[in-house]
Amino acid sequence: MELLTRFTFVSACLFAEWAVTFIAVANCSISPSEMNGDSALKLPSAVIPVSQKSTLGSFYSLSLSSTFPEDLEVNEYCTELLRIYGQRYVTFANCLVTYARPVRVCQNCYTGFNSLEDIYKNISFDKSAPGNVSCHDSLMRSDRLMLLYTLFIKLDEIWTSAECKQCLNEDQDALSNDTLYFMATLNQSLSCFEQYQRNHTELCKDCKTSYKRLNEVYGRMEKNQMLCIDLEDAMNMTQHLWSKNFRCLLPREETVPVIAVSSFMLFLPIIFYLSSFLHSEQKKRKLIHPKRVKSSSSLMNIQDKFS
């Protein structure tokens, strides 16, 4: 579980960074004025300048020097869609990064994902576009990079592997009741931990009931496949606290009886083999002398040769 979390986190980080850079660039090339929008401002300042300086210059010169005939240009409606897509993408990616550690992405970013998905669907299933070229074709399938598609698919993959849908209700617009209940139980445990933080032996004794209930709830949800990365991570942390930090481990108390029973069991075969060796009649084989040319001639010939 830890591995998964870490991996998701790292990839999310990397990806978000990468995605954000690209968005910035794309945005710039289409409508430079939009760059001052709120989304770009939120970006960590370290990310933008590096790529901006080098790529932006060439982009500007390219787009200025050559314009395509009108029918090949992206029409305004599509440009508008593209702009909204960009904004929502940035918002969602930003949200993912913000809640990456400890993982709270499902709880906090589902609105972002839903709106991104909406706009993506709008673009893909767009039929009402003016003109004969649909936005789907002009935005998504005009070049081999297929940037919008790839960007969305990557985020969608992250969302799927986080299994966030299992924590949300059917309409995907709020956390499900079970999730809320689990979080309430978790909070109880955590507050109990806080209360006894000084004395670990007390903590192990007194918080056991709430911790146990938490485990039960978790186990039930696991069976019903209602877990998402948030809950798994929270549970993981709690278990780590419980076992590693507070050292509430089960004591190994029964070494003596286990050894006693084991040695008794191991003793049985020895008795068995000894008694069958002593009491069982040894199986004897009756030798039979085959009839040869002369009685045992071959043997004798051999002996002759031997001598």
């Binding site: 050894i259 084989r285 009756k286 030798l287 002398h289 051999i302």
Partner: protein, 794 residues
């Protein structure tokens, strides 16, 4: 005549022949001695009996009393007979062939294909049944024990869980062992040695019966579910063979049901071909390795082979894998998905981290040598254990008790290991361990010793192959290897039906993984090439190769089971090394067990340094012969003589009164004589028989393979005086050799033609002796040169 006096002195010591007798290459003049000694034989030899099925020391009875010795490996049992692979080309056969049209032969060929398809299908079904039953039963057992352990970890009383586990194990094993020990002892073990013998041409009683199959399948399910250190793969081969023997005959004598189909195939030659197809289908179902199955049949039973047969066997193998896949896909809820492999699933080795490089080859070879040494150790210990078992634990109830004890101890050892293990690992993301135990580990972690012990062996193998690096710590693996090695050695040879493939693989995988881990700690830790899973695979191959010593077929089986040809080269190298190193110490496990069963097994070649032995020394003499037209009374007397249980009788032109051996004109088998007696084919009845239908080859086939004993055939006093004409029924052209033929030459004839009887004649074509399988099998190369095995009654 110094020779004679010497002989006398030796014969005086005839009594202490119980010991092993070294045979040495003699001096040149030995030949003359033999010639001299032959002189007196023919006068002495009456026309009594021979053919080694059973020999009584009539004349020697005074000088050499039957001795009793404890069982050892240097014996040949009288219990085993040969199969009749040589086709008897008598007149009936020729007639039938003449009657058969061209279409008839076409039909036969088609029928052979249909039978092979059926064999594959049924074998696949049985594999499927075993797989599902084991999975269900083991699932119930492990979840019960797991719940119990979880409950008691918290509140105390884990020793009760231990007892519960031990009792459950013993109960399963008890049921299986009772079935085997009391109902069908031949279903014990993996069955591979038995099938090997069968394909070699030895008739092991009851080995290919339906009852054996039923007990085998039931026993395997019980012993695997009972948690013994065994696998279900070896018995699949036996099961396949039984299915083949049953289907090809179109009837079951156990069920007394005759479907009246495939009657043409009711003889040993045809049956053997189908049995090799069945064995191949079994291998292919067990490992998902159709080509490996074909090669297994080729390697283990290939004294008789042709291309069409290979192709048919391959067909049966493929059908069997396909059937297994198809039904398992239905069981797993994905009908039609055919890509899942056989019973044991090694998983796929295709990620980048499991590639290998040139500089790893020496390491693989070292591992191969290690596997050879460990395999030899396994075989040696098991050899002594088996001797002890044969000598002392031969009563069925003792055998059942022993099996139960082993099961209980297996559970105990496993539990103790798990209990005292401190190796905790975090749970994997997709929870590959179905029965993971937490015990005293931190929450969210599991006990890694439990993945190895608290699991069916197949799953353990898979987790050793595929769990990511760091899933086991070296101490766990070391202790596990040691414990499992002891358990596996102890378990093989119990009276339960179970195979040795999986335990070997498991031991090998454990130390192989350990090897890999140690390697990566010695070298810089960042190196990718020391992926422990890869070394687990190589270790498994080395250990298995060291124990069973199969070569070509095992390579292909492992390559197919892992699904990557990339590993063909290292696996081959490893198996080669393991075999070379292991053979230096002791033979393969199956050969050891064949020897201990006192089976007259013919190896590929006659023992070296045996060219000086001639047919005269090898043969049995004098021979019981029949005349062309023989008196019924004499035939009945010879057949019902309990002290001689011969199966083949040379038919001679006519014997003179002074016991001169007659000229050979044919060979007739006991089974044929019995059928003749049963149908009362007497010369005196010939006139009345005209109204009857003439005896056909079909009548002989109907009696096959369980010819009634002579005692069940009633011959009245009048009939005893009748005569019987054997001309029509005997094989008129039996193979013969002159007396001076060397042993390797005789051996080659036997091995290549699948002979049962070889008549030794003098230069006037008179019968002087008869060579059978046991005459040849008794020579083998020991430590001090050629040794002779003793015949014994078992």
């Amino acid at each position: 005549m110094a020779n004679i006096s010497k002989k006398v002195s030796w014969s005086g010591r005839g009594d202490d022949r119980g010991e092993r007798t070294p045979l040495l290459n003699g001096a040149e003049d030995g030949k003359y001695n033999r010639h001299l000694s032959v002189g007196g034989i023919f006068q002495v030899g009456r026309l009594s009996t021979v053919d080694l099925e059973e020999i009584t020391p009539e004349e020697d009875i005074v000088r050499s009393r039957p001795k009793e010795i404890p069982h050892n490996e240097k014996l040949l049992s009288l219990k085993y007979e040969s199969l009749d692979y040589d086709n008897s080309e008598n007149q009936l056969f020729l007639e039938e062939e003449r009657r058969m049209s061209h279409m008839g032969f076409r039909c036969l060929e088609t029928r052979r294909w249909v039978i092979c398809g059926l064999i594959g299908f049924l074998t696949g079904l049985i594999a499927c049944l075993i797989d599902i039953a084991v999975e269900k039963l083991a699932g119930y057992k492990y979840s019960a024990v797991k719940q119990n352990i979880e409950k008691f970890t918290e509140f105390g009383g884990l020793s009760i869980s231990l007892i519960l586990w031990a009792v459950l194990n013993s109960a399963f094993v008890m049921v299986g062992a009772i079935a085997v020990a009391f109902f069908e002892p031949f279903a014990a073990g993996s069955g591979i040695p038995q099938i090997k013998c069968y394909l070699n041409g030895v008739k092991i009683p009851r080995v290919v019966r339906l009852k054996t199959l039923a007990i085998k399948v039931f026993g395997v399910i019980c012993s695997v579910a009972g948690g013994l250190a065994v696998g279900k793969e070896g018995p699949m081969i036996h099961s396949g063979a039984v299915v083949a023997a049953g289907v090809s005959q179109g009837r079951s004598t156990s069920l007394k049901k005759d479907f009246k189909i495939f009657e043409y195939f009711r003889r040993d030659t045809e049956k053997r071909d189908f049995v090799s197809a069945g064995a191949a289908a079994g291998v292919s179902a067990a490992f998902g390795a159709p080509v490996g199955g074909v090669l297994f049949s080729l390697e283990e039973g290939a004294s008789f082979w042709n291309q069409m047969l290979t192709w048919r066997i391959f067909f049966a193998s493929m059908i069997s894998t396909f059937t297994l896949n198809f039904f398992l896909s239905i069981y797993h809820g994905k009908p039609g998905e055919l890509s899942s492999p056989g019973l044991i699933n090694f998983g796929r080795f295709d990620s980048d981290s499991v590639q290998y490089n040139l500089y790893e080859i020496p390491l693989f070879i070292i591992m191969g040598a290690l596997g050879g040494v460990l395999g030899a150790l396994f075989n040696v210990i098991n050899y002594w254990l088996t001797i002890f078992r044969i000598r002392y634990i031969h009563r069925p109830c003792l055998q059942v008790m022993e099996a139960m004890l082993v099961a209980a101890v297996t559970a105990t050892v496993s539990f103790a290991m798990i209990y005292f293990s401190n190796d905790c690992q975090p749970l994997g993301q997709d929870n590959t361990e179905e029965y993971s135990l937490q015990l005293f580990c931190a929450d969210g972690e599991y006990n890694s010793m439990a993945t190895a012990f608290f699991n069916t062996p197949e799953r353990s193998v898979r987790s050793l192959f595929h769990n990511p690096p760091g899933s086991y710590n070296p101490l766990t693996l070391g202790v596990f290897t040691l414990a499992y090695f002891v358990l596996a050695v102890w378990t093989y040879g119990l009276t339960v039906s179970a195979g040795v493939f999986i335990p070997s693989l498991l031991i090998g995988a454990a130390w192989g993984r350990l090897f890999g881990i140690l390697l990566s700690t010695i070298t810089s830790s960042q190196s990718i090439w020391a992926d422990p899973g890869k070394y687990a695979l190589i270790g498994a191959a080395a250990q298995l190769g060291g124990i069973v010593r199969m070569t070509l077929s095992l390579t292909v089986i492992l390559v197919e089971a892992t699904g990557s040809v990339t590993y063909g080269f290292p696996i081959m190298l490893v198996l080669m090394t393991a075999k070379i190193v292991g053979d230096y110490f002791i033979e393969g496990l199956y050969d050891v067990h064949i020897k201990l069963q006192s089976v007259p097994f013919l190896h590929w070649e006659a023992p070296p340094t045996s060219h000086w032995l001639t047919a005269r020394e090898v043969m049995s003499s004098p021979v019981t012969c029949f005349n062309r037209v023989e008196k019924v009374g004499r035939i009945v007397d010879v057949l019902s003589n309990t002290s001689t249980n011969h199966n083949g009788f040379p038919v001679v032109a006519h014997t003179t009164e002074n016991d001169e051996p007659g000229k050979i004109c044919g060979l007739i088998l006991r089974s044929q004589l019995i059928v003749l007696l049963k149908h009362k084919v007497f010369v005196e009845r010939a006139s009345s028989r005209l109204s009857h239908r003439k005896l056909q080859l079909k009548d002989f086939r109907d009696a096959y393979p369980r010819f009634p004993p002579i005692q069940s055939i009633h011959v009245s006093q009048d009939e005893r005086e009748c005569m019987m004409d054997l001309t029509e029924f005997m094989n008129p052209t039996p193979y013969t050799v002159p007396q001076e033929t060397s042993l390797p030459r005789v051996f080659k004839l036997f091995r290549a033609l699948g002979l049962r009887h070889l008549v030794v004649v003098d230069n006037e074509n008179r019968v002087v002796g008869l060579v059978t399988r046991k005459d040849l099998a008794r020579y083998h190369l020991g430590k001090d040169g050629l040794e002779e095995l003793h015949l014994a009654q078992t």
